[in-house]
């Protein structure tokens, strides 16, 4: 009986349209944020930060971006990796042009370059739909990753054809490069992700979000209501690519510290798509759950044998994890096609009537 909104009366539409209308949710999110911002930095090991939390956050942001496009606007894209790459390389060039500008500003700015490119490759969406569009976005994917290698200007003509992240400091504290501590990088990633997630939440609960969903659910009717399909779709592409771009920039500057064309290949795109669909199309929460599952699972699986004192060849573990991840994807889709987010809803529903079955 702990979780229920009974007795919480909304006295204004404002209260009713708040992000978290239910008190328990508000408490919940506060606790989570406190844990994330205070608890984790104090306790987590550098491995947990570097190999689990930072990646999951970065990938969640990319997934959020794709979700805005695929989940909310109904446009299937396989170019995510490419757009992330644009963000990363843009950020790298920016750091070389403006070495003294605050790196966080640059990371956010690099999103705009991705947005521009994304919009261009979004143009076909005006003529084509569904899988045809998906394949069209593959053109973006392959063309971009070709550019990342074939245009040396993008990586400052490094012989290695890869971008090395320079050390940038903020108030004297190094935030990028090898000397930056995992905690610092984690906190920055967390802040950016939290901020952009809030923005996404605002967008999808307002007019823009509704027009996106309208286009997704029935584009013709939307048009007859007065929604301009072209602008709506292109806006979706732009915003989505912006998120992917920022994610890409963070991936290189705050996570890996180095990248080459291959870091943004087609598999990256597929990985993000997994996360979105497993997490739940059209759900921001889902993007996070999906990212956590898809990224976390193989790590758990790789650690599991040792944890249970078995010694398994790392290769075998890797192959096994492929099998299991594949099986789980199918399993999840069968159990709940609407993704983890829906499971969460169901869980809440149960909690609401607990301890009674109905």
């Amino acid at each position: 009986m702990l979780y229920r909104e009974v007795g919480q009366y909304k006295t204004s539409y404002g209260a009713d349209q708040a992000l978290f209308p239910i008190l328990q949710d508000r408490i919940g999110i506060t606790v989570i944020l406190l844990l994330a911002f205070v608890g984790v930095p104090l306790t987590a090991s550098s491995f947990t930060l570097d190999s689990i939390l930072i990646p999951v956050l970065v990938l969640s942001l990319a997934a959020t971006g794709l979700n805005l496009l695929t989940g909310f606007t109904g446009l299937l894209s396989l170019g995510t990796g490419g757009f992330m790459g644009v963000g990363a390389f843009a950020c790298y060039k920016l750091t070389t042009f403006f070495p003294n500008v605050n790196i966080i500003v640059l990371i956010l700015c690099s999103g705009f370059f991705a947005a521009a490119v994304g919009t261009v490759f979004g143009l076909p969406s005006l003529r084509i739909k569904g899988f045809y569009l998906a394949v069209a976005t593959l053109a973006a994917q392959f063309f971009l990753s070709w550019c990342f290698i074939r245009i040396p200007w993008l990586y400052n003509y490094n012989v290695s054809a890869s971008i090395e992240v320079p050390t940038k400091t903020l108030f004297g504290v190094p935030v990028t490069g090898p000397t930056a501590s995992p905690v610092t990088r984690y906190l920055i990633v967390l802040s950016i992700v939290a901020l952009l997630t809030l923005v996404a939440a605002n967008l999808v609960r307002g007019r823009i979000g509704r027009t996106w969903m309208a286009v997704r659910d029935m584009d013709l009717a939307a048009e007859l209501i007065g929604i301009r399909l072209y602008q709506t779709k292109l806006l979706a592409f732009a915003v989505s690519s912006f998120y992917c771009g920022v994610a890409g920039a963070m991936m290189v500057f705050l996570w890996l510290g180095n990248a080459e064309s291959e870091s943004f290949n087609i598999n990256q795109s597929f990985l993000i798509l997994f996360m979105v669909i497993i997490g739940g199309l059209g759900s921001l929460l889902g993007s996070f759950l999906g990212a956590a599952l898809i990224w976390g699972l193989p790590i758990v699986l790789r650690a599991a044998p040792a944890f249970f004192g078995l010694s398994i060849q790392s290769a075998t573990a890797e192959q096994a994890s492929f099998v299991i991840v594949g099986a789980l994807i199918i399993f999840f889709l069968i159990v709940e096609p609407h993704g983890l987010a829906r499971l969460w809803q169901i869980g809440k529903q149960k909690l609401r009537v607990w301890p009674f079955p109905y």
């Binding site: 045809y132 069209a136 070709w146 497993i278 290769a315 192959q319 991840v325 069968i334």
Partner: protein, 319 residues
Amino acid sequence: MTHLLYGIFIDPFVQMGTAPDLLVQTLWEGLVSGVLYALIALGFVLIFKASGVFNFAQGIMVVFSALTLVGLNENGMPAYLALALTIAVMLVLAFAVERVILRPLVNQPDIILFMATFGLTYFLIGLGELIFGGDPKVMISDQLQLPSGSYRIPIFGGYLQMQKIDVAAAIIASLMVAALAVLFNRTRIGRALRAVADSHKAALSVGISLEQIWVIVWFAAGVVALATGIMWGARSNVSFALEIIALKALPVLILGGFTSIPGAIIGGMIIGVGEKIGEFYWGPLLGSGIESWFAYVIALVFLLFRPQGLFGERIIERL
């Protein structure tokens, strides 16, 4: 600038004129890889036509079937027995897919089924490596009596080099297409398949079990995959890197339309020839390696003019 324009608009055609044998050779290579793309695309089409599923796993099915074949043979099984057994394996796979994936997910939105085939892809990659190891295998061309060596036909003062295996690939591909055409248009199953393609309800009302149809198409796709795997394996070797190439079937699908068998073939030809010509004559301008995306751009441009593909049904929007 003028140099660039020359490189784009004049030089390639000069080359074609001065070395026609190379042009012919390029066309031939294009046709061959086109055939292989087409074979993969064919697998997609079969399944999409009958179950509306965009089967991403087609690519890995190619690798998996070829691996099974070679793996069985390596464990001392005579080639043809191995071949038969591999076909059996593909049949089992078809049943498994129908039972485990399609049936529970029937009537789900396309994208969910699409994702499910992604899951299948991961599963097969892992399984394949677990059983046969990650190291690439050499296709057992000789045991299968596949021709090796090549014809060298003098033309235009130069010569045209045709690998016998490629010729075989072309022949086998056309045979398969013919067989499938017959299957689709002449047999009861074929009518059923088309009925399903038109509408599941209709099919049911005609008293056809969807399950059977699905098993059949997935099995057919599996066999096509095996053929593709053997052919491509014989050209390079059987390794998981092949799976990436399978993506090339997607632009083929766009050109040919997702539901048209002749479309897949002709689309394959266009893509194959297009990208080879592009790489060969225009690639050097851009620093080469454009083959990796050229096909997709061809398809993309094409889409803008004909959104439903070469043979795809016309899309009429109505309210």
